[in-house]
């Protein structure tokens, strides 16, 4: 029986057969680990790892264990369904879009009409044919307060690097010139 829940496992009988490079990490990956071991008396702040991974650095609570701290912002939105949409046509009150089911990727794309009222005022400037948006349905305030079923539409905001934009414009100009000649 475990008297200290912080110990993950105590008794092992099986041999580990599939480990690869166990405890042989490269430079940055292990800095955090050494911080943890050296942190037995010091209180480490939850912070980023030295490498490109996330960290579970935290404060020590007993002789050799560091409580892990989740380093990712916690959400109160529990996703039920997610679609990625592409705007096909924009009308006065509605727009037509093709939806791709991201929750069940094998489903066929569907064409739907969505009320423009469902789009945040600030996102409406992005509403044009070809625009990409994400439509999610889920429970808000899942961990606190009453549960609410909500639907969110969020338009993609993607900045294209200047050089790529110039390349695309040049390619478009070349095509236009080509078609003008033929």
């Amino acid at each position: 029986m475990l008297t200290e829940p912080i110990l993950f496992s105590r008794y092992g009988t099986e041999l580990l057969r599939d480990a690869i490079l166990l405890n042989d990490p490269a430079e940055n990956f292990d800095v955090e680990m050494s911080q943890e071991h050296n942190g037995q008396t010091a209180h480490l702040e939850s912070g980023p790892a030295a490498g490109t991974g996330t960290s579970q650095t935290g404060h020590p609570v007993d002789r050799h264990f560091i409580w892990p701290v989740f380093n990712v912002v916690q959400s109160d939105f529990k996703l039920l369904q997610l679609w990625q949409g592409r705007v096909e046509k924009v009308g006065t009150d509605e727009f037509v879009a093709t939806l791709f089911d991201k929750t069940h990727p094998l489903s066929s794309p569907e064409q739907v009409s969505i009320s423009i009222e469902d789009v945040n005022l600030e996102d409406r400037e992005l509403l044009r044919p070809g625009a990409v948006f994400y439509w999610s349905i889920g429970y808000a305030n899942y961990y606190k307060g009453p549960r609410q079923r909500t639907s969110r539409i969020r338009f993609r905001r993607l900045v294209i690097p200047k050089r790529k934009m110039v390349e695309r414009k040049n390619a478009a100009k070349q095509l236009a010139t080509f078609f003008a000649r033929h």
Binding site: F8, E14, L16, N120, R157, I160, K164
Partner: protein, 219 residues
């Protein structure tokens, strides 16, 4: 096993000017809409460090590290767009490494299953010869990549402090050596955009597969 908490983060190593990365700058450059920053929690904006948190996003930048994360499954792709857009504007930022990370916390059915995970992944028979009641507190595994990207995959497993009792934390780090990919006439930010746009789904699916297989086989 169902995840009780999950999140995705993007980490960049390079040379950054932390004071740039504040919510107003992202709105000004149309990377984030105004409605995202209405409820912002700015911890610090300084020459050496910037930390802020929005409803769905956490950003933490120092002079050599950029970190952005979300735990909203619906916004995983938005997180990618956020990073790509940021460095499309800051296109001359020298970036050397990229990390795409998936972290999860799940709960074992009972104490026995919880212990079995640790015992299977880190057997205690050798440790018990010299140690009294050895327990697993953190396990890190590194492996080669199975795609064409230069770098490695780092996997970490530990008891979870967020999910108790019997919680398990597992994190997968897709570490990519961005500087090895950049051609002479190309900014690393272009490589970053290309990798994130072309490999995003595959990187997350790979992380999910590693996590699911490891935990399922260890139970």
């Amino acid at each position: 096993m169902k995840y009780e908490i999950e999140g995705v983060s993007i980490v960049l190593l390079g040379s950054f000017n932390p004071v740039i990365f504040q919510p107003a700058w992202f709105v000004l450059n149309k990377i984030l809409p105004n409605y995202d920053v209405l409820e912002q929690e700015v911890n610090i904006v300084h020459n050496q460090i910037t930390q802020f948190r929005l409803d769905w996003l956490k950003v933490d930048v120092t002079q050599d590290r950029f970190f952005a994360s979300t735990s909203e499954t619906a916004n995983y792709t938005t997180l990618r767009d956020f990073v790509v857009s940021t460095f499309a504007i800051l296109e001359h930022t020298p970036i050397t490494k990229l990390g795409v990370n998936k972290d999860i916390h799940c709960r074992a059915e009972n104490e026995e299953t919880w212990n079995k995970i640790g015992d299977t992944l880190a057997p205690k028979d050798i440790w018990q010869k010299t140690l009294r009641e050895p327990g697993l507190t953190s396990l890190k595994i590194q492996t080669l990549r199975d795609d064409d990207l230069p770098g490695r995959i780092n996997v970490q497993l530990a008891p979870s402090a967020q999910v108790t009792p019997y919680g398990v934390f597992m994190g997968v780090n897709h570490h990519i050596e961005l500087d090895e990919l950049a051609k002479d006439d190309e900014q690393t930010s272009e490589q970053l955009a290309a990798i994130l746009e072309n490999n995003w789904d595959a990187l997350l699916q790979s992380a999910d597969k590693i996590i699911e297989t490891t935990i399922t086989k260890a139970i």
